[in-house]
Point group: D2
């Protein structure tokens, strides 16, 4: 059997040669500009080179809505092929070395084999994700009316068991954290007792928490609505924070940018969780209406910057600070690999821009109530075109100066559509 | 073969006997109360008896989200069984004599046979619905990037053709209208030229409009978002109105309660479309966040009343006024038959309450800028418990005094789960 | 000097005589209906008779917007006249025996005199409200850039001092609680450090908390936005809860229905705060868009009911439970007295309806995941026209069967417009 | 009497000298970069030099909320001083040569004198704004319950008369357009008949339209809510478009960025109005929650860019296209002059960035459904730091390279606080 196609590093290098002179010129000019503003470009580039953004295993396939899914050619058919695609993302952008698995979607029959496959691709495993928002074939109890919060203890125990099993899978793969998101909630006022459901949720979480291996972390993900459309058990950061506090130091909150009410000031939520020591990580994406799961930075790039302004401020304050960053998007109309690469770069962009803010100046303006100049300090950072920094960081790491063009030129997707013949077309929607 | 189980009329009657005395008492007491307020209860009851609310064929199956679908027992497996369930709804509530079909989901091989089946069940066919938001097996062109608005003329022609075909199916079944809703739009700023897309949409609609048989109507349904998450071609009532105006008198606008931006004053949209002569009909449901497709009246019953206040005001002004009313809900956690019955009654409730408003008094208060009393006039109507009117209207038509209890007592669903063995469980979500 | 006009109790009684027969009939019929449902009407009526809703001193004047204020005739010109109007509300509805003062707007020169005046009118004083969102003449430091969170310690100390002074005033008047709401926040990203502002807020609150007299309570009121339009220091319930927890048992959270993001599930916030022991009270009003301060129940009456469902559930669980209820509305187009009376009755309505819910049945349906019937149990309670209960409770307390008609018949407002000649028209807006 | 202080052109020039070398360097580097992308920087700079953004007379004073207004030092006390401040803005940014007056706030006793004053300052008059949302001293009828839509014909006539008078004032000053915004609406369901109010609105507008002088234009401004909090007569673009269509070719629609429901796709509204030939102009500002009237670009700069992408696309299509651009902001915490300058530049920024989009490439990507690259084409334009273009355009016109720093260095505000002693502090709020 021919091994699956990978984009050779030399291919990337060769393509880079053509673009390098312009990059060098842009980079050195930006260096000059930033120097005038008192900023050392190399320090920022180094920060960018350290930033890591995980890719979810489900993100490399085409997403869909309840109305339809329109698959693309050459989609990965199993977790090994998903890792291949993630490795392709990583080889081109060099900031996405970790993959976040969904259990049972990506449960490996042989964990050791999968771990080896990943290692061979230069990948490792980020947080594992449990799934109790769907029923799996052969499952004893249905999650139609809840999982960790179900009124029936047997269902809750099954859901807890699944989480503990997910941790086991993760441990075998080298993960050190689990993200718990449940779809539990109600569609009708009266369907669910808010209090009892929250109490059961916490009790179930405690059982999972108790099963965390040494050194593991647990992330709670809240969401305002969907799949439940009237109430959800972990509906906002306040609830998530309260639960995480009850559980203990290994548990913190994960923020998905699409899980909030309209007009919510998400950067303030980030600040609160940082201040209270409970900010665990992010699911990056963008949204205009609900949990749209669009590409990061596609709709409100300034919001993404403001979120990173909070994160970078924390990093400056506390060099030990770390948070888990992951893309969680639904790629319905683009090639998932292209969207993942582009989105990772947009996250880097916001991060790099945030490092251009002068804390000293900002604090001085704030201390004088000079709202205009404080804002201008943020805006100047945001308006700076940091593309040369991102590109230089990527290239230095071995990635592509122009990832999308390189990817397209490699004919990766076309080759995959031959390598991966699809057995069935799955486009039926659920309305 | 044993014919499928139907709830016998005698069963309904028998159950009604027990409840009738209390109903009579409540009804006559309400009559007395309303008389004090100058309202003839019989006039309202007659109006309620005339109201018809169509049931969509897809509404009798369990709905789902992009995350999962949790089917219930005894679900209908084909359009004949869907009609059976719709007939059960109708036999119990007697205000839902028409079914709205989705083509191709419910496309009959033999239209005449289906029409006969419906007639035998006492049902007829309401508006047909075309579907160009999904790809069907064997379809030449994909709708991944649009249908009536696709950049490629061949795709648009295929979509137009499908609509014309849907009209043909509808004609064979005795329908006299088509509802056009498309998922066309974009997920990224820049993906779609708003102007060109709208121009193509209008051009495609004109082709469909040209194919409307004598006496037919066409309803345009707008939607703010989903499945497209940045822009949709017919995104709001203003766009829908403009298109309907360009098309001509056979075309008007359909309002789905879940298709608007947060905080939108939907009753005002209803008023506008009535005033401009372009209100064609409704898809009733309720929502708290987005297009949640919850049961009508479950979240904002007062809003439903205010909408009917506009509709009833129009009906009083213009006795020829008519609009197409349909339930369009996703029954994810309830028995669809129970939800449809309950929702139809909630629509009746808002309608009956609206008839309790005294136009004369309301106008008088409005003419004096007596905001408090004008509001109180609406509130007094809304706060009246019109249950006895709805129940009496239902019973007089042959329906059940307590439809849900009667339905449950009949063991309909349990019998159907034996009659309709499912071949596969379809619970896979699309995230 | 002629004493100010008050509506004589005999006037109320006389008007009631005409309406009493119909009330008796309606009440006894409702009693019969409820008995059929297993509910003792008298138990509910007694609960209603115990419910108290405070009136804010500023609520008896005509409100306005930043665009304009359109005063009405006979507005109260000072705190004594405000109490007169509050007493009129109370004499007609008999559920509003307490007044909530705003300091310095209503600061009495002679607290003892004011307390005596109130007592003579049968009123007492509810929570006092501090005001550091405006500058007062002669004030040393401006609150333009914040009060309790200001970067300058001197400003914070001034604001703390004002709160301590407000407590003093309240103590002299017999109040036992203070509500703290500040307008502090920012209009620009960058203007304010979220973290530092929250830290300063907490520190200032601790100083106030330290000054609470024995037996006093402190309520923190959060608000998403306005007057600050980008960020506010206490912006959501999560922040409010965290602060109240840091402060101690005397401090809890106050929920204003208009202070949340669009689509927020407020009844769930109420449930959370109850569950965590930090629900202190409410500012009732209604809203469609932002902090519209419309009359309670005017826009989303079902939401109000759902909130009371949570509160009544708590009251059933814990007979010691109490919360501070106040109307906080802006009466821009109605006679404030009429709006206050009507709104108090709408609050009573939601409260009475919530008592009609059978906890036993609801819990049974919930335990069986019978979403439809659980919802129906709430809806049946909500759809019951409890007007006879509210009216009977009011009449038994000595109030008017028809408060608005009685008030209008008394010519109170007309007489006040003579008694209270206005010295200036204040209608200039701030845009 | 000493003439009021103005910032001398030489002062600006002198300050520019220091900054010019860096600007030249940045500009020529950007020119080089853009050349690589096939863009002629000079063409863009020329476009920027032609762009004009009007300043509203009320924008030079400190704004406020219904809670409070915190005035700043040296505020203009009359329309002459307002023009002085507008001239200062213009002298520093050179893209704001026109002032939009509010009648009666800025009604001149001697129009000729005012016109002369403006001419001397190098200013002219943009659209005049009528005001029927407030009562003015001595006015016969109150607008408490509406103006152009009032149920009483006499009030409507007074409001029409005021608009015709405003046109007269505008004509005397050299304006050629009027913007009509009214606060008419309702706070309670039932208060207003939506249909009758819209009919009266249109009738009143027709009377005003009939009074438009030769060559004049009329702009209708819609707004979702505030000051009315349940319904407004011209509540959305659909209504505004319908009215403008009924009125005729001289009437078109004005879009204020803060007047829409949450999540609304405003760039699509812009596209619609352009497509239907009814886009008249803009009131620029930014908002996070409601009509926050924050500085343009402060919250959602990418949205501003997307709006300009629609406008520039139209300009490319139709070189005759023109629209009226105005800033309409409430400067509550900044020096209004600084905010106006900064905001004008942010508008320029979005405009310049939109000119960097390659229509040819964008259309090509769109024609291939290459969503990712179509989006990337917009993003590349948006991410370009066009500051050197804006600065060069400004400097070439005689403005300041760093307007805020130059303004501060001039001590303008300090001098004005001496020149303009305030007679009273107006900080009372309306809650």
């Amino acid at each position: 059997m021919t091994p699956p196609f990978r984009i050779p590093d030399e291919f990337i290098d060769r393509r880079n040669q053509r673009l390098k002179p312009a990059l060098d010129e842009d980079y050195s000019y930006l260096a000059r500009q930033l120097e005038r503003r008192g900023i050392d470009i190399e320090a920022v580039t180094r920060e960018v080179m350290e930033l890591e953004i995980a890719v979810p295993s489900w993100g490399v396939g085409t997403g869909g809505t309840r109305f339809a899914r329109f698959p693309g050619p050459g989609e990965p058919r199993n977790v090994f092929e998903k890792l291949d695609d993630a490795a392709t993302v990583q080889s081109l952008v060099r900031c996405a070395p970790a993959v976040s698995l969904h259990i049972p979607w990506d449960e490996p029959e042989d964990a050791a084999a999968l771990r080896e496959h990943a290692a061979a691709l230069g990948l490792r495993f980020d947080a594992v994700n449990s799934n109790t928002f769907q029923d799996q074939e052969g499952q004893a109890h249905s999650y139609k009316f809840g999982s960790l919060t179900h009124v029936d203890r047997a269902v809750r125990e099954q859901a807890i068991e699944h989480n503990l099993h997910t941790i086991e899978v993760g441990r075998a793969l080298g993960s050190t954290s689990i993200t718990v998101w449940v779809g539990d909630g109600g569609n009708f006022p009266g369907q669910v007792s808010f209090r009892d459901a929250l109490a059961r949720y916490l009790e179930s979480l405690q059982a999972i928490y108790g099963g965390l291996p040494e050194g593991w972390k647990m992330y709670l993900e809240h969401k305002l609505y969907e799949p439940a459309f009237y109430s959800t058990v972990n509906n906002d950061w306040g609830t998530s924070y309260w639960c995480a506090s009850q559980l203990g130091p290994k548990c913190s909150c994960l923020v998905d940018l699409g899980h909030h009410a309209p007009n919510t000031n998400i950067e303030m939520i980030v600040s609160r969780l940082l201040q209270f020591g409970k900010l665990g990580g992010f699911h990056f994406n963008d949204s205009k209406y609900g949990d749209d799961d669009l590409d990061a930075g596609a709709i409100q790039p300034f919001r993404l910057f403001l979120i990173f302004h909070e994160l970078v401020s924390e990093a400056r304050r506390n060099p030990m600070f770390e948070a888990a960053y992951m893309l969680d998007q639904s790629h319905n109309v683009t090639d998932p690999i292209e969207s993942l690469m582009t989105s990772a770069i947009e996250v880097q962009r916001a991060f790099a821009q945030a490092w251009l803010v002068s804390s000293r100046k900002l604090e001085e303006y704030q201390s004088k109530n000079d709202a205009l100049m404080a804002h201008a300090e943020l805006k100047r950072a945001y308006q700076t075109d940091v593309t040369p920094i991102l590109t230089m960081a990527r290239m230095r790491r071995g990635g592509a100066i122009d990832p999308v063009a390189t990817y397209r030129a490699s004919k990766y997707r076309i080759l995959k559509s031959t390598e991966r013949p699809q057995t069935r077309s799955e486009s039926a929607g659920i309305v």
